[in-house]
């Protein structure tokens, strides 16, 4: 099953990257006491333009400013990495547009219905020792594993990647 080893591209960048992700979430908490999952920003930003009561809940309207700042920080951090990493230009994405868009719709709908994503349930929830978040993580890891494997067989039966 693992002809190229468990980590075909090495493992250091994964562990270091993960520790830095945790450092960002931890720093936000120590400085401000806030829980820094990433999916809420997609709902809280709609609160600027959608008047439906759902989007005018105080936990969305009162957090939309810092959540946008947090998202801006994400972009700045990745840009800094691009400069320091010595990559020749940019990181191009090879996954087809329709997959990004359709997958994105499901990601957005599902994460908001579930009240958390990979960072909200996966990092913040597990670090809060939340049993509901553990259930969420096991659930989305399971369906993601199934979907990614099925898609690989449906879309690339010849390429054999």
């Amino acid at each position: 099953m693992y002809p190229n080893g468990l980590f075909p591209h090495g493992w250091e960048q994964y562990l270091l990257g993960g520790l830095l992700i945790g450092a960002g979430v931890a720093l936000l908490f120590v400085l401000t006491g806030l829980i820094g999952g990433m999916s809420t920003v997609y709902s809280s930003t709609w609160s600027y333009v959608v008047s439906r009561p759902f989007f005018q809940q105080s936990n969305l309207t009162s957090s939309r400013v810092w959540r946008l700042a947090y998202a801006t920080g994400l972009i700045a951090g990745a840009a800094l990495w691009l400069v320091l990493s010595g990559q020749p230009s940019r990181v191009a994405v090879s996954v087809p547009t329709w997959q990004l868009f359709i997958g994105g719709i499901l990601v957005g709908y599902g994460a908001r219905l579930s009240q958390g994503c990979t960072s909200g349930h996966g990092i913040c929830g597990l670090a809060s020792l939340s049993r509901p978040s553990l259930v969420a993580v096991i659930t989305f890891m399971g369906t993601a594993f199934l979907t990614a494997n099925i898609m690989a067989r449906v879309l690339a039966p010849v390429v054999g990647r």
């Binding site: 591209h9 992700i21 998202a71 990495w81 997959q99 997958g103």
Partner: protein, 156 residues
């Protein structure tokens, strides 16, 4: 409904002072930058690599998640015990998700989408900083999905 509980008094019974707006924005920017740098370094911003993670042909995701949870766990468990309040003011919030049907169904749908595109909400945004403008399609999709969820949610 609220996924985060922000108490208005501290554990010590004092009224919580709000973090000043400028300090809050600065803290969010710096914390976000660390998070974004980590997402880029760990290749979470590359959907093709994430799809390899999700097929378990590369176990890197376990290290990314494990490293992230480890550091956050220390902060979440120790900071409220060691500090009276967060360093810039405010109060330590609690993450409180209820274990109910929508939560599990939502997680299942989220996973299907993630397995289809290899992009989750944070990396979609961070990837823009590494010039992956194609991720704009994922961001548009996630934003539309979030809108659909809010428009169909039972209003209280």
């Amino acid at each position: 409904m609220a996924s985060t509980i922000i108490p208005t008094v501290t554990r010590h019974g004092e009224r919580a002072s709000a973090v000043k707006p400028a300090a809050l924005i600065a803290a969010a920017l710096v914390s976000g930058a660390l998070f974004g740098f980590g997402l880029a370094l760990s290749t979470m911003i590359r959907p093709d690599v994430v799809l390899d993670f999700l097929r378990f042909t590369d176990l890197g995701l376990m290290l990314v998640m494990g490293g992230g949870v480890l550091v956050t766990l220390v902060a979440y468990q120790l900071a409220p015990r060691l500090l009276r309040r967060p360093l810039l003011g405010g109060v330590f919030a609690l993450r409180a998700a209820a274990l109910d049907r929508p939560m599990v169904v939502g997680a299942a749908i989220f996973g299907i989408g993630w397995g289809l595109c290899g992009v989750c909400p944070g990396p979609a945004i961070a990837g823009l900083g590494a010039g992956s403008y194609e991720l704009g399609w994922a961001i548009a999709g996630i934003a539309l999905g979030a809108l659909a969820q809010g428009m169909t949610a039972k209003s209280r």
